[in-house]
Chain length 109, copies 2
Amino acid sequence: MRRDVFQAIADPIRRDIIELLAEKTLTVNSIAEKFEISRPAISKHLKILKECGLINYKKEGRERFCFIQPKNLIPAFIWIEKYRELWEDKLDSFDSYLNKLQSKTNQNE
Amino acid sequence: MRRDVFQAIADPIRRDIIELLAEKTLTVNSIAEKFEISRPAISKHLKILKECGLINYKKEGRERFCFIQPKNLIPAFIWIEKYRELWEDKLDSFDSYLNKLQSKTNQNE
DNA sequence: TATTTGCGTAACCGAATGATTACGCTTATA
DNA sequence: TATAAGCGTAATCATTCGGTTACGCAAATA
């Protein structure tokens, strides 16, 4: 069972949960109310987010408050950030492919 | 079949392919040589990357050159970027959860 | 022209994913 | 103390995922 940040944020519901928790700490039930799926399904998503270190719990009585741990998004951020230069330099599209190919060819081979 | 950037970069092999193509345009076979899995498996990953707009092909003879389209990483970048402020403000960990909870309580309710 | 190369794709398979229902355990409340 | 509320988890299921092998086709080459 792979369990990393990339896999955690691959699911749209889990991304939505993160968005919710970024605003406010919420109990499991109050999260579940915002989605169409069942509460146990939400519990599972929360478990995955917890295992990936993106959220944590704080128990208060019979309630479980979930809060975000945004720091653990950093690895994913760093990975994507590497390519920022590429897209900002417009090294994209077919034209740039040609440019790139030509310059590579001229320089390297 | 969900097919978006987040799902595309969820797989470590696909991330590695993107890393390779960020440096250099490569044929399908030359990509496959860098991994332990079979060429058809690589073809499938490439197909997914293509469907998500992260790469494209250019046919030359019987070879198929793959090149990156980094622009389509931007939506994922933007999504994560939203939380940068959160982790930079150290609104993380149990302590900050408590701070947040208290300030929320004082201000809102 | 016969063969090799580069590749896509179909068929198949086991494992993972995401959902459900059913149940049980704590904790709060009537 | 009986009941309700808040939650986790087990069992189950259909679907998706990621891999394989087998095959076929177009383009290059002998």
